[in-house]
């Protein structure tokens, strides 16, 4: 008679951050419905979700890889590509749109030669669009490295990004 041992999935690397991911999964009881919560944790720690990460999380929570990938690509918050050193999020909600968000985007695209969703060639700045930051009373709003700036002008924004 042979016995089969189910091996716990191996973390993709020795990186200590995986221990934090493991802690998160353990707290959620390795329940499959904790998938999105765990993805948030991985993205917070590593900045993005790569194939190894998705596969590790899927095997640990016993969620098929097809479903893991489906969830990761359904939600716009998750990114499968590494981000730049800095991020610039331009809000494109209604109030910001009315107040000239399109002009801000165009200015950054032109000045840094980067498209929304992309990262500059030198890996310095990622340009992102947000649906609405809820900072409508200060439209147009942008978020640079987590800090909200309201009522920004195109020149002002390009200058700020240049100074990063």
């Amino acid at each position: 008679m042979t016995t089969t041992t189910v091996l716990a999935p191996q973390a993709p690397s020795e990186d200590k951050r995986w221990r934090q991911v493991d802690v998160r999964m353990r707290r959620l009881g390795y329940r499959p419905d904790g998938l999105i919560e765990v993805m948030h944790t991985v993205q917070e720690l590593f900045g993005y979700l790569d194939d190894d990460a998705l596969s590790y999380v899927g095997r640990s929570l016993r969620v098929p890889l097809s479903k893991v990938f489906g969830v990761a690509t359904f939600y716009s918050h998750f990114t499968l590509k590494p981000q730049g050193l800095h991020t610039c999020v331009v809000c494109t909600g209604t109030a910001c749109y009315i107040s000239g968000a399109a002009g801000l985007l165009a200015a950054v695209e032109g000045a840094l030669e980067v498209e929304p969703g992309g990262t500059t060639a030198d890996g310095q700045v990622s340009l992102l669009k947000a649906r609405c930051l809820g900072a409508c009373s200060m439209a147009p709003a942008v978020v640079i490295d987590g800090e909200v700036h309201g009522k920004v002008s195109a020149n002002d924004l390009v200058e700020r990004l240049g100074a990063l």
């Binding site: 904790g34 948030h40 918050h77 991020t87 209604t94 009315i98 990622s126 992102l128 649906r131 009373s137």
Partner: protein, 569 residues
């Protein structure tokens, strides 16, 4: 591709608020909601704290509070004992520039007299009663203001049926947009059989662009929402709750999580609430940037860790929701109304508002008005009162064109309708919706075709793709709107757009698709002349759209015939 900001990094521990030992003569309440924070109100707090300490004012409190409402004039500091509001308080050294410290010391009255301000005059605060008066991170502030009295009263002195009867009597309707009677929903969940328990879910996935009511409530007084949820859980017989918040609101998530921990510690959540056998726990679930997750069945799918795609209803979540169990889903603002309903009675709430829309509504007033910010008004105030009295009208030289309500499922209302009282029925009859409460004022620099196109672009990108009418219909409508806005359309394209809009509205699976044509319908209803100017004259009256030169109406008509006949002439 969109993305949300990472949580603001705050490694250093923030200084504690100044609370005098003895009686408080004056209290400086420094707004710490997202709007004022982005203008440096955390530095204002620190400097003001230092200045008050340096001046030796030992009977003056300096506190952090939630949203004070008038975001346009931030950073804001309120001194309630003196009825003053200090606007644009500079964090850059000039903390006393508007006489704030002198005023606190008892000399001179700087700032604005709140009692005389048009912005505050017509407002009635029920949901926002604690916004701007309590510290969102201090449970003791909320308790001091009467917080958790309603929960204690409900669990110790009322039966679940009595709680539901009170909510029914209040006439409260869902504040997330649909306006379904809250009491009826509670009764349905309460009656549902539940071998595996029931759930209470708070929908804080405020995805409408141009709306920040829920964000402000969660950032200003998360305890009030938790209290409302706990009362709901007692009424329907649930012991587990979830708050589903957008990832774009890191500050709301932080304050809510801290509020849950504090409430558990003080016995307002957890086991044996109010010394009874009632128990209720709350967990936070963070969304991941999908507008459709505001739809209740999609939200459930997302809490369960899957793609947020909606399901046909019935069964409604009240019968079969989270993990198939009866689930009560209400919006942040709905829950925030509940403590007042229990404390002051359903009859009290139903004395406010119109015949069929009771109570108040919180609106995020933004766009081309002078006083942008967060307001709470009784149902039935007219648009004119909101935009011109509270909002202070438009900037000098600008002309009012439209006010957009209800986000991507709402509509644009013209000047003729300014005297219409705002309630669920009137807005629906006018082709818009109350929605979650975003109210964006547009002036003569906005092109209505472009606005319709903006919302359609939003809907086509946010469509989850499950049903065809929404997935393909929104994209085709966008293309038609793009044609019209660039002056490459004929009357026939306009006809196509209207036909398609009707089809998408009638056949889509969920509210996203069913509501997506609304901006098109409402702009066509009130601003048809702008569409015609693009089509017939090749002009954008507002000068927003880029018109493609050299377009031939005749050639396009031939092209359309060719397309419809499969290329045969």
């Amino acid at each position: 591709m969109s993305g949300a900001p990472a949580s603001p990094a705050r490694p250093r521990r923030q200084p504690e608020p100044l609370v005098p030992e003895g009686p408080v003569r004056a209290s400086a309440n420094v707004c710490q909601a997202a709007g004022c924070l982005s203008m440096g109100s955390d530095r204002v707090f620190n400097e003001l704290r230092d200045a008050v300490l340096a001046a030796g004012l030992d009977d003056v409190a300096v506190r952090r509070v939630g949203c004070l409402g008038l975001c346009a004039a931030g950073p804001l500091v309120a001194v309630p004992q003196q009825g003053r509001l200090f606007e644009h308080v500079s964090p850059d050294g000039g903390i006393n520039a508007s006489g704030l410290v002198d005023s606190l010391a008892g000399g001179g009255a700087g700032g604005v007299d709140v009692a005389k301000s048009r912005f505050f005059a017509d407002q009635v605060k029920v949901v926002l009663q604690n916004c701007g008066t309590v510290d969102p991170e201090r449970l003791e502030d909320y308790v001091e203001a009467g917080g958790y009295e309603a929960l204690t009263k409900a669990v110790t002195a009322m039966s679940p049926d009595e709680v539901i009867a009170e909510v029914v009597r209040s006439g409260l309707r869902g504040r997330g947009g649909a306006g379904y009677p809250t009491g009826l929903k509670w009764r349905t969940v309460a009656k549902a059989g539940a071998p595996h328990g029931k759930y209470v879910v708070c929908n804080a996935d405020e995805g409408d662009p141009g709306a920040f009511m829920d964000r402000s409530v969660l950032e200003s007084c998360p305890q009030q929402v938790l209290e409302g949820m706990a009362i709901a859980a007692y009424a329907v017989g649930a012991s587990q709750g979830y708050v589903y918040v957008r990832a774009e609101y890191p500050l709301a998530v932080k304050r809510l999580s801290s509020a849950i921990r504090q409430a558990e510690r003080e016995g307002f959540l957890g086991r044996q609430i109010g010394g009874t056998r009632f128990e209720f726990e709350v967990e936070v679930r963070i969304g991941a940037g999908a507008f459709v997750c505001g739809e209740e069945t999609a939200l459930i799918a997302s809490i369960q860790g899957g793609r947020g795609t909606p399901k046909p209803r019935p069964p409604y979540p009240a019968a079969s929701g989270l993990w198939g169990a009866p689930t009560l889903i209400n919006n942040v603002e709905t829950f925030a109304n509940i403590p007042a309903v229990i404390n002051r009675g359903g009859d009290w709430l139903s004395s406010i508002g119109t015949e069929r829309s009771k109570g108040t509504k919180v609106f995020a007033l933004t766009g081309a008005v002078v006083n942008t910010g967060l307001i709470e008004v009784p149902m039935g105030l007219t648009l004119r009162q909101i935009v011109f009295d509270i909002g202070g009208g438009l900037a000098p030289g600008r002309r009012f064109k439209a006010v957009q309500t209800g986000g991507p499922s709402g509509g644009c209302l013209p000047e003729d309708l300014l005297d219409m009282p705002v309630d669920y029925e009137n807005l629906a009859a006018a082709g818009s919706i109350v929605g979650s409460g975003g109210m964006i004022v547009m002036d003569d620099t906005a092109c209505m075709v472009d606005v319709a196109k903006f919302f359609m672009d939003f809907c086509r990108e946010e469509s989850c793709g499950k049903c065809l009418p929404c997935r393909a219909g929104t994209d085709q409508m966008y293309r038609l709107l793009d044609r019209i806005s660039s002056g490459r359309a004929t009357q026939a394209h306009l006809g196509q757009l209207e036909q398609l809009a009707g089809m998408v509205r009638a056949t889509s699976l969920c509210g996203l698709g069913q509501g997506a044509p609304n901006p098109v319908f409402s702009t066509l209803r009130y601003f048809r002349d702008e569409y015609l100017a693009h089509i017939d004259d090749g002009k954008c009256p507002a000068g927003v759209c880029r018109i493609t030169p050299g377009f031939s109406q005749r050639g396009a008509a031939d092209e359309m015939v060719a397309a419809e006949t499969g290329g045969m002439p």
